[in-house]
Structures are given as C-alpha cells and as structure tokens.
C-alpha cells in the first residue's frame, strides 16, 4: 500500500512539474568535450555511459526504466559556459543527476551555481583540486577521483625513490596545474629534494622556447611536467627533447595518454608518473568490459567515470525514486560498507539487492570508498613508459 502511494505521489509530482516521461530517466554528463582535455573526455563519457546502459539493459532499474544520457560541454575553462550548460541540463532537460564536471574550475562553478541551488547530485570523475574538499555543497557533491593534494606528495615520493635529488618543475597555469605543483614542490622539498625552478606555462601559446630555456638553465637533469597531454605540456616536452635539455620527465596524471607516445616516440622511454586508482579485481574486470565495448579502459579517469555513473544508478535504486534529494541521501550508503560488495558488470546484482531492501557496498573499478566529505582516499599507480605506459607499482 505504501509503495503504490509513493508511486502515485511521484507521478503527481512529475506531472506537476513537467518532469519526464515515466519510463525514461534523464541523467546529465557534463565534461570538457572541447578545450584542454578534450582527448581525455573521449573515453570518459563512453565509460560512464557503459554503466548507464548496463543498468538500463538489466531491466531491474526502478522497475524497468531506461536511462537517457544528455551530454553537455563544460569547455573546461569558461565558468560561465559551464554554468549555462548545467543550467540547461537541469532546468530544461530536467536531468535527475549529473556525472561531471571534468575540470576543477568548471566543477566549482557548476556545483555552486546549479547543483546545490537545484539540489542535484553531482559526481565528478576527475575534478582533483584540493579546494573542492571544503566546498559548501550541502552534501550534493561527490568525487570519485582523489584530491591533488595527495597526488603531488605521492609523485614526489616516487621521484625521490628513483633517486632524483634535483628537479625542475613546470605546470600548466590553471587551478589544476598550480594546485598539483604546490603539493608536489612542498612534498619534494620535505623529502630532501631540491626544486631548482618552478615555472608555469600557458596552454595554447605560440612558442615555448623561452620556458624550456629557463627550465634547462636551472641546472636540473629531470623535468616534472604537470600539465595536459594535448596542450602546452606536450609542447614543453617536445621543445625540451629537441634542444636536448632534459634526460627524463616526471609527469602528472594529465600528461599520461597514448597520444604523447604517438607524437614523440622512443624519446619518451623512461618517463614516469602517477595515475589515480589502484590495481584490483574490479579494475581488471572493467578494463575487459571496456575493451569489449571499444573503449580504452586504461585511460585516465575512465574507471572513475564508470564508477561515478554506477553510483548514481545505485543511489537512485536505493532511494526507489528519481527524487533528487532522495538520491543525495543514498550515495554514501551504496558507496560504503556495510553491504554486499559490487564490482563492475555486477550492477544488476546490486539493483536486485537494493530493490529487496538490502544494502550494497559499491567497490567498482577504482575501489570507491568515500570519506565524510564525499571524496575517495587516493591510491595511485606508478606508471612508466617502456614501450607504452606500463604499471610499475601501486602506492
């Protein structure tokens, strides 16, 4: 009786607000499809859509509903554009939750201006700025990627462990690069290393010879590049190699991508860096799934994208409705213990348990476990280019 009552109430609310057709649930994916990380998002969005499709196909999601994905382009750099697209998705397309945004700046704008005011759960797979830990989100914002404050320290440890004593640092001049560089530099110094120069580079500029000249002349043999693989970071590495300035490169997660090997080739061998996410059964399973679907599951933030989407699905199921605030209250529940552990590809199992009123602990591809502000503790993989990027160890 209670259930029919609830459904009836829901239907009324939906019709009253012109919500959506009852058989389709709309969710938004807001990522930087154009702009500095456009090549990363090419695998992230399909990764997330994999989870939504899995839930739809299972026939178990909210009694057989299907999920319709609406994509939006945050442009990554323009806060106003990101706000506008989120506003359109939330108020015009009426999405019930958002997977995104990708870049920290755009995410902050979306969360502050749209998600929190409209009460929409927003789970970012890749916003890593430390500042997001303290954002006033009223519990609507989560992220499946760990904060950069940690990555910088891990990367510094990796560099020290490999015997690097002196290093030059260049970062892309935005909130991501600056935040990562700050934590890397302080970590590296704390561990007894010396940072000879810490210089930003602007993305999409005409010429990087001045930067490379300054970096090279600082007297270090290794260069830490904390930028984007499609942007200035590539230009800096290319120009450094051309001039014979550095022997080896230490890179952050934004620089790890196949395209750097494609463009530069053998000279990149020996380059190493860190990438969020551990090695687990879930990860292996996901990579297999992704490969079958024609997605590069090993790419940066692809696992976290899938996990963000899966969490949205499970939280909706746990709430038993597409009510936005009901979803919010369930995200923590499905992500953390106690409950039955759920791996990628097992969403159907999770949906069934939740429908029966049970509890799940979503582990997923990136071993999700939220702390009290709704972000994951970071494990990182240490990667090195041998012929392609290869895993060395997990930290």
């Amino acid at each position: 009786m209670k259930k029919t009552f609830l459904t009836a109430a829901l239907v009324v609310v939906m019709t009253a607000t012109g919500f959506a057709q009852s058989s389709v649930v709309k969710v938004g994916i807001i990522l930087g499809f154009t702009g500095p990380i456009e090549s990363l998002t090419q695998d992230m969005a399909p990764g997330a859509e994999l989870a939504f499709k899995e839930a739809s196909d299972s026939g178990l999601f909210l009694g057989g509903k299907r999920i319709k994905v609406i994509r939006g382009d945050s442009t990554c750099v323009d806060a106003a554009a990101a706000t506008a697209v989120a506003e359109r998705l939330v108020t015009s397309d009426k999405v019930v939750a958002i997977m995104g945004a990708a870049c920290s700046g755009a995410t902050t704008a979306v969360v502050n201006n749209v998600s929190v005011p409209n009460g929409v759960v927003t789970i970012s797979p890749s916003a890593t700025s430390p500042a997001l830990s303290t954002i006033k989100d009223k519990g609507y914002f989560f992220r499946t990627a760990p904060s950069d404050a940690r990555q910088g320290q891990v990367l510094a440890q990796v560099a020290i462990d490999r015997g690097i004593k002196k290093i030059a640092v260049t970062f892309t001049n935005n909130d991501y690069g600056k935040g990562l560089a700050d934590s890397f530099v302080s970590g590296f110094k704390k561990l007894g290393g010396k940072v000879t120069i810490n210089a930003p580079h602007e993305d999409g500029k005409a010429d990087y010879s001045a930067e490379v000249g300054a970096l090279a002349a600082s007297g270090a043999d290794e260069l830490a590049v904390l930028g984007y693989v499609d942007q200035g970071g590539l230009g800096i590495i290319q120009a450094s190699l051309d001039a014979g300035a550095f022997k080896r490169f230490v890179v952050g997660d934004g620089m790890i991508g196949q395209s750097i090997i494609d463009r530069i080739g053998d000279d990149m061998i020996g380059t190493f860096g860190t990438l969020p996410g551990g090695v687990s059964e879930g990860r292996a399973k996901f990579v297999q799934m992704a490969t079958k679907a024609g997605i590069n599951g090993e790419g940066p933030y692809v696992t976290t994208s899938y996990d963000a989407a899966a969490l949205i699905v499970l939280a909706m199921q746990a709430a038993g409705s597409t009510n936005r605030s009901a979803i919010r209250s369930k995200v923590m529940m499905v992500a953390n213990a106690p409950g039955e552990k759920i791996l990628p590809g097992e969403l159907a199992k999770g949906l069934k348990i939740l429908k029966a009123g049970g509890d799940v602990d979503y582990v997923g591809a990136s071993s999700v476990e939220f702390n009290d502000v709704g972000e994951v503790f970071g494990t990182y993989r240490e990667m090195e280019i041998k012929k392609s990027f290869q895993l060395i160890q997990v930290r």
């Binding site: 005409a206 010429d207 001039a243």
Partner: protein
C-alpha cells in the same frame, strides 16, 4: 666536471637555448608582420584577420600534404608540406581576392574612414576563424614528415667534445632559409619591378600615384597576392616548427602586431626588425642566466640565484611592454611608420 673550454660551452649554451630559438621565432614573426605592414602600407588599415589568414593558408597546405602523402609523393629529406605550399598559396590568394571583392572594395569606393576597415577585418577574422575550425577542427594536426633533425644535441656533444649540446632541427633551418629567400625576393620585387615601384609610390603618396597613372586596382590586387604568399608561408613555417592548431594563430597575431608596430606600420624593414626585437626580448628577458654565468665566472663568484630578469609567466607580456615602451619614445615605431 665540464668538458671543453668554458667559454665555448657558454657560447653553445646560449646559442642552443636563446639565439637559435629566437632567430627561428623571430623569422616567423617577421614574415607575419611583413604581411600586416604591407596591407597597412597600401590599404591603410590594421588587418585583424591576418592571423586567421595564416591559419587558413597553413590549413589548405596541410590538407594537400595529406593528399600527397596518401599518393606516396614525398620530398626526400624535406617535408612534403613544402611541395604543397604553392597550392596553399594559390587557395589563399583566391580567398583574399574574394574577400577584397566582397568586403573591402565597396568601402574603398565610397572612401570610408580607415577605422571602418579595421572593423571589417574583425568581421572577416570571425568568419575565417569559424571556417578554419569548421573544416579542420580545433585540434592539433600532425603532418610533418622528412628528417626532423639536421644534427641532435647528443651527436653534437660527441663531435665537439663539449658538455653542452647544440641541436638544429630541419624546421629551424627551413624557416631561416625560406625567410631569407622570401624577404630578398620581396625587396627585389618592391625595388626593381614596375608593380613593386608603383606599390611604393602608392604607399608613399596615394594622390600623386593616382595622378601619375598608376591603376589602384592593380596595386591592391598585387598587395593581396603578396600578403597571401607571406601569410601562407609564415603559417606553414610556424606549423612545421611547432604544431598546427587553429587557436594558436589568434595568439600569434598579438606578437605579430607588436612586431609590426614596434618597427613602424607600413615599413617592411621595420617589420623584420620588429619581429626579431620581439622574439629576442621574449627569450632573453626570461632566460635563466645562472648556468651561463657559472661557465664564465670564476668559481668564487658563481651565482646562487637563478639570475632571471623576469619570470616566464610574464613572457607573453614582454612583447607588449616593449611595444608600449617603444611607442612612448617613438610614437610611430622605430622606423617612423605611417599614420592614417
């Protein structure tokens, strides 16, 4: 620890990181600025669409390079793109003449104020930017082939027995050589040919030139053709040396303008000087001289700090600081440029 004489090492260090990159970048800026200055000299407006004209020329050249590559045509050690360059120039000429016919000519006939033309060029810039991105997309395009290096830093070190290396990329050599050839040809054209002479006459004094029977339409047409040659070549050389990305050409327009203005608008020789001044000041002012000084100074005087005049953050601002300083001292540029 170091090998070889210290001062040689210092010299090579500076050549590798300052002189060579600055000459290359300066050549690219100079070619761009020449185009801007030619248009200003004859048509008397600052052409904001010039950066995107360069992008358009480079784009067409790249499209044809891909086609040639797929046909198996190559240029040996040199990049195939050089073979496609004439085609790119041809297309750019067509589009510039078309723009002139559709946009600028009407206003020339009704003798609009110069500022109207600047506004028009902003409109053309928007259309051209959109067109280029529409055709080839916003991303980085890879089209380079042929040998990448003349010699590498590592090989140079071994050969010279020094601890500092010097690398010379083919694209750098091509840029410098092509720029020299093109500039020589341009000056020969302006000084020796009838069309060039009438251009100079028209630029110096329009009324007088018209009175002496020079056909203004021909002069304008020749100007656009020269502009197309310069813009396409500059765009391609730049793309070969760095990479082709439509967005960058707008960024490039700013230092190009700075170069043209520093030299004095309408003065070809000023554009060349301006290009090198801007390029050298960008690199020199932000260079870290520590290592250089370590080589030259006795050990007791070795600097502790980086010895950097300006941090690289402000590299992009350097060209404009120079621009403002020059304009304060010489309000129409170093070579007394034109005023409309």
């Amino acid at each position: 620890m170091t090998e070889g004489p210290e001062f040689l090492n210092a010299l090579i260090l500076l050549s590798n990181y300052v002189v060579l990159p600055a000459i290359t970048y300066g050549s690219q800026l100079a070619l761009g600025a020449l185009g801007v200055t030619l248009v200003f000299g004859i048509l008397r407006f600052s052409n904001f669409a010039h950066g995107d004209t360069m992008a358009f020329g480079a784009m067409v050249t790249i499209l044809f390079t891909w086609w040639f590559q797929s046909l198996g045509i190559s240029f040996g050690q040199l990049p195939t793109a050089l073979l496609a360059l004439p085609v790119g120039i041809l297309f750019t000429i067509v589009i510039l003449l078309l723009t002139d016919r559709l946009v600028y000519r009407y206003y020339r006939r009704i003798k609009s104020k110069p500022i109207t033309f600047v506004m028009l060029s902003v409109g053309v810039m928007f259309v051209m930017t959109g067109l280029v991105r529409f055709i080839i997309g916003p991303k980085d395009q890879n089209f380079a082939d042929g040998a990448r290096f003349i010699f590498k830093a590592r090989d140079f070190k071994k050969w010279a027995g020094l601890s500092e290396g010097l690398a010379l990329r083919s694209s750098q050599l091509i840029t410098i050589v092509v720029t020299m050839l093109l500039v020589a040809a341009l000056f020969w054209f302006l000084q020796k040919t009838k069309a060039g002479k009438s251009m100079r006459a028209y630029s110096d004094n329009e009324e007088l030139a018209l009175l002496s029977g020079i056909n203004p339409d021909t002069v304008v047409r020749v100007t656009w053709i020269l502009t197309a040659v310069l813009a396409t070549t500059a765009g391609l050389l730049y793309s070969l040396d760095k990479s082709f990305k439509p967005f960058v050409f707008f960024q490039l327009l700013l230092p190009i303008f700075a170069s043209a203005i520093v030299g004095g608008l309408g003065k070809p020789i000023g554009a060349i000087a301006g290009g090198f001044i801007i390029a050298f000041s960008e690199v020199c002012l932000t260079y870290v001289y520590r290592k250089f000084l370590i080589y030259l100074l006795p050990e007791s005087m070795e600097p502790e700090t980086l010895v950097q005049l300006l941090s690289t953050e402000y590299k992009f601002a350097v060209s404009f600081i120079i621009l403002v300083l020059v304009l304060l001292i010489a309000p129409t540029g170093l070579f007394k440029g034109k005023v409309v």
